[in-house]
């Protein structure tokens, strides 16, 4: 449903791919179609198998099982140097004994391209990453951000159909990182090259990607557009990992009418009454019946706090902390069973004081209901 619409469009396809390192199951039954010209991000915590997935596409690791297709062709018998993909490595991996020029010229010079053409293309690449003038430097005479640019130029000069990037901005400081994010995105749009981008920084993934595949323990938990993943997380892990979220555990008490107001086109969502450990709440969800164990995920900015109970809600809490951060106010509350709740809003009314008793509520369609079983991605 969230995959590439027509399969023929997929430039890279993983089909039932499994990867074992000894008895360590690193990638589990992965199915992924990457569309031509797309910016796809593999996002997940450390050790979830992002690099391994990328390395299988590049050809540095063999898939234990399953098939990988690049441009519709199976690649398992192709060596890395025969694949039409290029990689920007996590640690740049520039050749230390070569100048910037020779590093960037490496690809075409291997292919016996005429000298004059190489010169032209290197110049074009270095201009593009704003590194002209550095041709004669050695990599150890460059800053992290400059090395990064050279690594990108070196990978792009071969004009690959697909560029694989493994946490390319991981070693940069925050400011440079933000700047490079914008530049990379601009470059990708301009060249129309498919980017498969690995990061464990969810903010980076949100700002750059066309689609995000959220991974956990070698499984893609959810794949979709950033806004979709943010608004409609399918598992508790995704809700927790992407942005800030308040997650309440509970049981569906009764299932109400169709709402048709859950934001998406599907009219199947119903208003659910859910009992929590510390009260009762309402939320919209599809395909649930009374007695189901569920998680309710609510973003801090979707929460409402009031002195009176709202209809369908009975969730008392007390204010523990308020932090004013310029335009945004962050407020921490605690429910009766001790769960911490994050609440943020733009108004700066000083109506909430510490240890004040309030009621929590939200618009039912702003909350996401996740079946408790879906926490284990394997079960699907």
């Amino acid at each position: 449903m969230c995959g590439v619409d027509a399969l023929s469009e997929a430039i890279v396809s993983l089909k039932n791919v499994e990867k074992w390192f000894g008895d360590n199951h690193v990638v589990r039954n992965m199915n992924l179609d990457i569309a031509e010209g797309e910016f796809l991000t593999l996002l997940g915590p450390s050790g979830c198998g992002k690099t391994t997935t990328l390395r299988m596409i590049a050809g540095f690791e063999d898939a234990t099982e399953g098939t990988i297709l690049v441009e519709g062709e199976r690649v398992e018998d192709k060596e890395p140097f025969q694949r039409d993909v290029n990689t920007v490595f996590q640690n740049y991996s520039l050749f230390p004994h070569m100048t910037v020029y020779d590093n960037v010229a490496y690809g075409p010079s291997i292919r016996k391209t005429p000298k004059a053409e190489i010169r032209e293309r290197v110049k074009e690449m270095l201009d593009m990453v704003q590194m002209s003038g550095y041709e004669k430097r050695k990599p150890d005479e460059l800053s992290g951000g400059q090395k990064q640019r050279v690594a990108i130029a070196r990978a792009l000069i071969n004009r690959p159909r697909v560029l694989l990037l493994d946490e390319p901005l991981g070693a940069l400081d925050l400011k440079l990182r933000k700047q490079m994010q914008i530049e990379l995105k601009r470059l990708q749009k301009k060249l129309g090259i498919t980017f498969v981008y690995v990061t464990h920084d969810q903010e980076e993934a949100m700002t750059m990607s066309d689609r995000i595949a959220v991974m956990k323990d070698g499984v893609i938990e959810q794949i979709g557009r950033p806004a979709e993943i943010y608004r409609r997380p399918k598992t508790r892990f995704v809700a927790d990992f992407i942005g800030e979220s308040n997650i309440f555990e509970g049981v569906v008490e009764h299932v109400g009418d169709r709402t048709g107001a859950d934001g998406s086109a599907s009219g199947g969502a119903r208003l659910l009454g859910i009992r929590l450990g510390a009260g009762r709440v309402s939320a919209c969800g599809e395909g649930f019946s009374a007695g189901d164990r569920v998680y309710v995920s609510v973003r801090p900015e979707s929460l409402c706090v009031s002195r009176e109970k709202a209809e369908g809600f009975d969730l008392p809490a007390s204010v523990t902390d308020t932090v004013y951060m310029g335009t945004l106010t962050k407020i921490l509350l605690r429910t009766a069973d001790g769960q911490e709740v994050k609440y943020s809003r733009f108004e700066q009314e000083e109506d909430l004081r510490e240890s004040m008793g309030v009621y929590l509520c939200w618009q039912p369609e702003k909350a996401v209901v996740i079946p408790a079983e879906a926490e284990r991605g394997e079960s699907r």
């Binding site: 590049a58 540095f60 991996s93 490496y106 292919r111 990978a155 071969n158």
Partner: protein, 286 residues
């Protein structure tokens, strides 16, 4: 003032004894050798302390020149053999998991815990007229009569090669082992096959190890006299034997000293070249 002295003390305490040792046992003897090389030879051997460049003129004598040239040839052959066999061996070991690699290195070093003379004697027994090699060769009718292997340049080369191989392998191993795998992957990724990757990435980046191997094999091979004495039987002359003989039997100390100075200059030259091209800090002396 006092404070300054005290801060200097630890450094002096650390480097002092070593410096004294070096000056006493390396620098002074070296200077003495250079000094002697410019003196004259006594009528009954030994040194007469009169300035003379006779020893150096003697070296230019064609006879000595042939010996020097031959020593160079043998040392060069040994070095080339060591690189040719040592590099693949070092590469093979470096690609093994660390535990296995250290076991292989151990295996390589074990022969060196036996006495050097014993090892050379073993080679002689192996290659002598009625030794196993000749036995096999004659019985397989590869040769009619036993071959005289002993006292040939050929056997000297074998002896030197086996003697020097570990010293070539160790520095090359350590620089191959240090080579980052991701650099090779980057090269493959950019379209270079294994051969191109080897010549454009692996070889240049392991050059410091190769140069160390050259120094560590060429210099000892040039100056050796035990191997050449025994396997060459003293019949074929090398610079090392001549130096030894000048100080020993022939007692022409100034000539021996002059030849030593020649070796020193060559050594210094090689190390200078190395520091220019590879950076002295990369010198892989194990």
């Amino acid at each position: 003032m006092k404070k300054k002295d005290r801060s200097r003390l630890p450094m002096l305490a650390q480097t002092g004894p070593v410096s004294v040792w070096m000056v006493l046992f390396v620098t002074l003897p070296l200077l003495f050798i250079i000094y002697i090389s410019f003196m004259s030879r006594g009528e009954f051997g030994g040194v007469v302390y009169e300035f003379s460049t006779e020893s150096y003129r003697t070296i230019l004598d064609p006879m000595y020149f042939t010996v020097v040239a031959k020593s160079f040839r043998v040392a060069l052959t040994t070095t080339l053999l060591c690189l040719l066999f040592g590099y693949p061996l070092a590469y093979y070991i470096a690609k093994k998991p660390p535990e296995k690699a250290s076991r292989l290195i151990m295996l390589l070093m074990i022969p060196f815990w036996t006495n050097g003379m014993m090892r050379l004697n073993a080679w002689m027994l192996f290659f002598q007229m009625n030794g196993p090699v000749n036995y096999v060769l004659t019985h397989l009718h590869i040769v009619e009569k036993p071959v005289m292997f002993l006292y040939t340049d050929w056997l000297v080369n074998i002896g030197l090669f086996t003697n020097m191989l570990p010293f070539a392998v160790l520095p090359m191993y350590s620089s191959i082992e240090k080579l980052q795998k991701s650099l090779l992957e980057a090269s493959y990724d950019l379209g270079a096959d294994r051969k191109k990757t080897f010549f454009r990435v692996t070889l240049p980046l392991t050059f410091p190890g190769i140069f160390s191997a050259i120094i560590l094999t060429f210099i000892p091979a040039l100056g050796t006299y035990t191997v050449t004495d025994m396997l060459g039987g003293g019949k074929v002359l090398y610079i090392g034997n001549i130096i030894k003989n000048q100080f020993g039997a022939i007692r022409n100390w100034p000539l021996g000293a002059a030849l030593s100075v020649l070796l020193l200059v060559i050594t210094a030259l090689l190390i200078f070249l190395y520091s220019r091209f590879a950076g002295i800090e990369d010198l892989e002396v194990v």
